[in-house]
């Protein structure tokens, strides 16, 4: 059953977070975690891992110390929803962290804040002070600190993020061990996106049912979208999951949309002919929130070129498929454009990007093929001629 575009207001509405926490603290950790699992909430940072399971894994680890990290690195081009959430309802993010801390057994939390968002620091510190006071009243021991990001896109990747927090170069780690097993300072850690934490808090307030009723089987609930590009109405929208791209474009397009880049630079490019059949969500094309619309005035070569330039620079550079692969893809399409390499070279590059997808060390290199293959597939002519 197709869903209609439906605006939702779970994220930005004000709540009595102290009350939610007070009630939650009276329940067992397992009860809350079960609710989160039952709600079907999946991580909103991009990878879409079921949040309740993540908490359960972290909870099940035995350790003298555990950590909650709120991932506010928001580096994906075209994404600016976490900034908005942290500006409008920071107390809900903090409460979500505390809830997570309660569930997994952590007494410390960190917000890894994108360097460009440092302007939020004064207000966040104020909020944190007030929040700590509230927690004291609730007799719940949970302490939140902020860690200012290093400015590299890859530091949003959870293990690179922890390396960076520990004062090293932001290079992703080998997995396993996963952060829930050995994360920050080697301790079990739950890394959650800003938006994920707020949804978890709302599930804490209302129970799983209301959230579960929204969305589709694989993509429950709603999601905050950052709409940008060729649209008369750019901005932040919380929408129920499950709509098709066609519905989305009807709502936000300028009447001339030829493609939508779903999920930012590391996401997929969908061409107009596929709008109708493409569902936005885990059963179709998932997104961390970024939706970029392109109209017919855009050169898809330039768009791909920009993305690849971004990845060529933002790869941490440690692993071969990604470091060299990105350079080859970028130089490769330029060579084809200039006629230095023949058009079939694009197929060699697609094979290469398949290798990058399965052999790269982290999600960055693994997802470069998303924009590459989808743009080459949909707009081959624009790349060659």
């Amino acid at each position: 059953m197709e869903k209609q575009i439906k605006k939702v207001d779970l994220i930005f509405g004000k709540v009595d977070y102290a009350d939610i926490l007070a009630k939650s603290l009276k329940r067992t950790r397992d009860e809350i975690i079960l609710d989160v699992i039952d709600s079907g909430l999946r991580g909103r940072g991009g990878a879409g891992f079921p949040t309740g399971l993540k908490w359960k894994f972290a909870k099940n680890e035995e350790a003298d110390q555990k950590y909650v990290i709120c991932n506010a690195d928001e580096g994906e081009p075209g994404t600016f929803k976490d900034r908005e959430i942290l500006t409008q309802v920071p107390e809900k993010v903090l409460a979500g962290m505390a809830l997570c801390g309660y569930c997994i057994g952590a007494s410390e939390g960190y917000i890894y804040l994108r360097g460009e968002y440092n302007f939020l620091l004064p207000s966040l510190y104020k909020q944190i002070d007030a929040f700590h006071k509230k927690l004291k009243e609730l007799k719940f021991d949970f302490n939140i600190k902020i860690c200012s990001g290093s400015g590299a896109y890859v530091c949003g990747e959870e293990t690179a993020l922890m390396e960076s927090m520990e004062g090293r170069r932001g290079e992703p780690r080998n997995k396993p061990p996963f952060p829930t097993q050995q994360g920050y300072l080697g301790k079990p850690t739950s890394v959650n996106n800003v938006e994920t934490l707020v949804f978890a808090l709302m599930i804490g307030q209302e129970g799983p049912t209301k959230f579960k009723e929204l969305g589709t089987f694989d993509s429950r609930g709603s999601k905050v979208f950052s709409v940008s590009g060729d649209t008369p109405t750019p901005g932040i929208y919380e929408l129920e999951l499950g709509m098709t791209l066609e519905q989305f474009v009807n709502e936000f397009g300028d009447g001339d949309t030829k493609a939508v880049q779903v999920g930012g630079a590391s996401g997929f490019c969908v061409a107009r002919k596929d709008f109708k059949s493409t569902l936005i969500g885990f059963e179709g094309i998932p997104t961390g929130g970024s939706m970029m619309l392109f109209n017919s005035s855009r050169s898809m070569f330039n768009i791909l070129n920009d993305y690849l330039e971004f990845f060529e620079e933002e790869s941490c550079g440690q692993c071969t498929p990604c470091r060299v692969g990105c350079q080859q893809l970028l130089k490769g399409i330029e060579a084809v454009k200039k006629g230095v390499k023949p058009p079939p070279y694009l197929e060699e590059l697609q094979k290469l990007s398949d290798t990058m997808r399965i052999a790269s060390k982290c999600g960055l290199g693994q997802s470069v093929p998303n924009p590459f293959n989808s743009i080459i597939k949909n707009f081959r002519e624009e790349i060659i001629y």
């Binding site: 060529e312 941490c316 440690q318 692993c319 498929p321 080859q328 290798t355 052999a359």
Partner: protein
């Protein structure tokens, strides 16, 4: 800790291995060799080159076998079509950012990247060449090490070596993405940074990105110069390793063949650093006893513990990182640098040559000795005491170039004088060896009896543990050493600079109370030196160490003070340990350097 067993299948063969084993090691147990580049048995896991990827049934991604522990029920394919394609791509990518001028390259024939390229038949690979001319500059600022970024595959073995094994961190990753490189602090030349020249990074670099500065042509020029009298000295650890350059087993004792080969190469005299190793024991042993006397009898504030000074990588480490302990270093020069000035004075006189016409060449397991030979402190003879330092590897190459069939050579003996040595000298090549040799001599000097260990083998100071400690109770001493009666001599030994750091920090904190400490910059001592044959790993180093101790046991004389040439040189030239002549030729002091 009892280990759980994990059952899995590799290429359809079932195997049960300890929990925590990597897929790579499990495959090795089944005799499947998965190719690797960033992995090294001596180093922590990196998982960044990705050539070791394998296919795991049911998994979307290809796990890196070096970085992924086995799990129950896992089914792995190490050579599936998917794996082969990915691996081939990865090697092609590495080559596309590589200045692959193999025919002109120092690593030609001994390069892991080249081998892999050959294995996968990377012929006319399709990708674009990413190397620009401006990338092709080499850093040759250091007399020991050459760094060529255009040959670097960014595996970070060097970074991990310098950090994990050596605690120096002279090399680090800088920049990201396409600009990511291995660099020094502020990108300074290698010679201007904290690098100790130990060469451990060279031993582990899979390509020619890090190599020793080589002086083969200069040495051949000297050999063929009719006006030059060229003598060569060989360090203890070379004789159990050079065979590896010719495909022989690590630890093969080929002292006699090496001598023959050196003679055939045209060196005028083939002499032995082992002789000056024995001399070092006389000087350093006397120095230790003197310091102890000054401390115990005269109540002077002397620097103790005394630290050995045979390892030039260790000296530079000390200058940079523990300059406040420079007075604790023995003033003895290294055996190589004792040999040089004696060759150009004592020996020159004996053979009636002008030192100006002499060229002293050393064959060393070490790259730091190249730097050491250039030090301003090392001109005791009035000339540059040691002219050229070659690594074991360079000697191997010279022998190849000269077409000498090494393995088939008959054994010959070192020339005399400066060619006679003892078992005590040869064990300088392994960690703990200097300590053992010193104890053999000092104990006997003080008590008149041999050290109380079976067959002179002081087992507690041997072996591959990073930091070793031992105590020797001194009793029934000769009257002139009465102040040592009942003293418990506490000694410690470290090999690899990260272990040296552990030891020095103990000394610094006052936690430990040693009299004498031996430090070798390289893991396992000189047998694991930065100039030794590649590859290196614990197994290989253990074999070399076994070779060293066998060589010791096979020697007729096993205590430095029994070396007749040593007795002779004191009689006719030096007169006494720590005497005036020794002071001028064999001892020196070092000066602090900054960390950055």
């Amino acid at each position: 800790m009892s280990k759980y067993k994990v059952n899995l299948k590799i290429n359809n063969i079932a195997i049960s291995v300890d929990e925590g084993t990597t897929i790579l090691d499990a495959a090795r147990q089944l005799n499947f060799k998965i190719p690797t580049l960033c992995h090294h048995d001596d180093l922590c896991v990196a998982g960044n080159c990705r050539v070791c990827v394998v296919e795991q049934k049911g998994a979307r991604l290809l796990p890196a076998s070096c970085a992924t522990p086995v799990s129950e029920g896992m089914e792995i394919q190490t050579n599936s079509l998917k794996v082969r394609q990915a691996r081939k791509h990865i090697v092609e990518l590495l080559l596309s950012e590589h200045n692959a001028d193999c025919t002109k390259c120092f690593k030609n024939g001994s390069c892991e990247l080249q081998e892999m390229s050959n294995d996968y038949r990377i012929g006319d690979h399709v990708f674009l060449d990413l190397v620009s001319e401006k990338d092709k500059v080499r850093d040759i600022s250091s007399p020991s090490i050459e760094k060529d970024d255009s040959k670097c595959i960014r595996c970070q073995r060097c970074v991990r070596t310098c950090d994990n094994l050596q605690a120096v961190s002279a090399l680090a990753v800088t920049h990201k993405g396409n600009k990511m490189r291995i660099s020094t602090f502020l990108d300074k030349p290698m010679n201007d940074v904290v690098c100790t020249n130990c060469g451990q990074c060279i031993n582990r670099c899979p390509t020619a990105a890090l190599t020793e500065r080589n002086y083969i042509d200069e040495v051949f020029d000297a050999i063929y110069d009719p006006n030059k009298f060229v003598v060569v000295q060989t360090a203890p650890a070379t004789r159990v390793a050079i065979g590896e350059e010719f495909g022989m087993e690590p630890g093969s004792r080929v002292t006699g063949k090496m001598v023959t080969a050196l003679r055939r190469l045209g060196f005028d005299k083939v002499l032995d650093t082992d002789f000056t190793a024995d001399l070092t024991i006389m000087e350093e042993g006397t120095e230790l006893l003197t310091r102890l006397k000054e401390a115990l009898v005269d109540g002077k504030d002397v620097a103790l513990p005394m630290l050995t000074s045979c390892s030039p990588g260790w000296i530079k480490f000390q200058e940079h990182l523990y300059p406040e302990y420079l007075d604790n270093l023995s003033t003895c020069k290294s055996p190589q640098q004792m040999f040089g000035p004696l060759a150009k004075t004592y020996y020159a006189e004996k053979i009636n040559k002008s030192p100006a016409d002499m060229v002293v060449v050393s064959i060393m397991p070490c790259t730091a000795k190249k730097f050491e030979a250039e030090r301003p402190e090392m001109r005791g003879s009035g000339y540059k005491d040691v002219d050229f330092v070659l690594t074991t590897r360079e000697l191997g190459r010279m022998i190849h170039q000269a077409g000498i069939d090494f393995e088939k050579l008959e054994d010959e003996r070192y020339d005399s004088i400066l060619g006679e040595s003892t078992g005590a000298a040869v064990i300088f090549g392994a960690t703990g060896g200097v300590m053992e040799a010193a104890l053999r001599t000092a104990y006997e000097l003080v008590t008149g009896r041999e050290v109380p260990f079976t067959n002179l083998n002081i087992k507690p100071v041997r072996g591959m543990e990073g930091v070793k400690e031992a105590s020797v109770k001194i009793k029934d001493v000769k009257p002139e050493w009465s102040f040592l009666e009942g003293v418990e001599l506490n000694v410690a030994i470290a090999h690899g600079l990260s272990n040296a750091k552990i030891l020095m920090d103990k000394v610094k904190s006052g936690e430990a109370n040693y009299h004498f400490i031996e430090v070798m910059a390289c893991p396992s001592g000189c047998i694991g030196g930065g100039g030794q044959p590649i590859p290196t790993n614990m197994e290989i180093r253990k074999k070399r160490a076994a070779g060293i101790y066998d060589e010791d046991e096979a020697m007729v004389i096993r205590k430095s003070h029994d070396n007749p040439e040593v007795a002779e040189i004191y009689k006719s030239f030096l007169h006494e340990p720590l005497g005036h002549k020794s002071h001028d030729l064999l001892h020196t002091h070092y000066t602090p350097r900054k960390r950055h």
